[in-house]
């Protein structure tokens, strides 16, 4: 279950002050999915409010570091019964800023873009399908 590794890596990168030491560093999480991220951000915000004292180098809210320095590829995109639930999650996560489409090609368990991209909400499909990656990588 890759989400566990994704969670501990996001926590570690933010709270150990990596982005304070390397302000230009960018990290892309590939093949971790993203449905685990929103509750993690909520919890990180809460713990930062309670325990900022222990990590005084964390000078901004954890969510700001994530938004500025990290991107997450979509595959494996979770498949709730109602696709609208996924859209709501993407909106709450500000997925139009931090998600990048990925297919996992050529693996057999890929997210076929012919199907998966249609599952993305209209307004954010273009950003997730291309714009976000274009802005994030030094292309």
């Amino acid at each position: 279950m890759l989400p566990q590794i994704g969670m501990s890596s996001v926590i570690s990168l933010v709270f150990e002050g990596v982005f304070e030491r390397f302000p230009k560093l960018k990290v892309a999480f590939i093949e971790y999915g993203f449905s685990w991220l929103l509750p993690l951000l909520w919890r990180m915000e809460r713990e930062w409010r309670n325990f900022r004292f222990d990590t005084p180098w964390v000078k901004r809210s954890p969510r700001e570091y994530v938004k500025e320095h990290m991107r997450f590829s979509t595959q494996p995109m979770d498949e709730p019964d109602r696709v609208q639930d996924l859209w709501q999650l993407i909106e709450l996560l500000e997925g139009d800023e931090i998600l990048m489409f990925s297919s996992d090609y050529p693996h057999y368990d890929n997210d076929n873009p012919l199907v998966t991209l249609n599952k993305l909400p209209d307004g954010t499909r273009e950003r997730i399908a291309g714009t976000n990656a274009y802005e994030f990588f030094p292309l």
């Binding site: 990596v18 304070e20 030491r21 930062w48 409010r49 900022r52 004292f53 005084p56 180098w57 000078k59």
Partner: protein
């Protein structure tokens, strides 16, 4: 706002004792009007704050008057703001005693602070009365 309303909101002075009754860096808690208010003499000055944390309604002034680790570089621990910080006894939220604001924008909550006057050895706190009909 009418003149009467302005008058009603005017701060009411409360005598909370003599200067030497206040131990350094220890809150004394008073019921002033309908408010529970902590008053303290710290290494940074005299402060009065509402004894209620806006987060989960903890008795804030039973927390610790302290300093804090001020923002610093990675792996750097730098102590500052001695006597200017109240740390909530429940979740550890820190407030600046000068302004009542959460430290370093950790969140938007703010605790009410009140002016303290020390004259001829007497300590007076100015607290606004609640609006008519409102019970805090």
């Amino acid at each position: 706002v009418t003149g009467d309303a302005v008058q009603a909101r005017r701060q009411v002075p409360h005598d909370v004792g003599s200067e030497d009754e206040f131990e350094l860096d220890v809150f004394r808690i008073f019921e002033l009007g309908q408010l529970s208010v902590g008053v303290a003499h710290t290494r940074s000055g005299w402060y009065a704050v509402r004894n209620r944390c806006p987060h989960m309604l903890a008795p804030l002034c039973r927390g610790t008057i302290t300093g804090t680790m001020v923002p610093a570089g990675p792996d750097e621990m730098r102590w500052g703001m001695e006597g200017r910080v109240i740390r909530c006894p429940w979740h550890g939220w820190e407030y600046d005693l000068e302004t009542g604001r959460s430290l370093f924008a950790t969140n938007r909550t703010k605790v009410a602070t009140y002016p303290v006057l020390v004259e001829s050895g007497r300590v007076t706190v100015l607290v606004p009365p609640p609006p008519p009909g409102v019970h805090w």
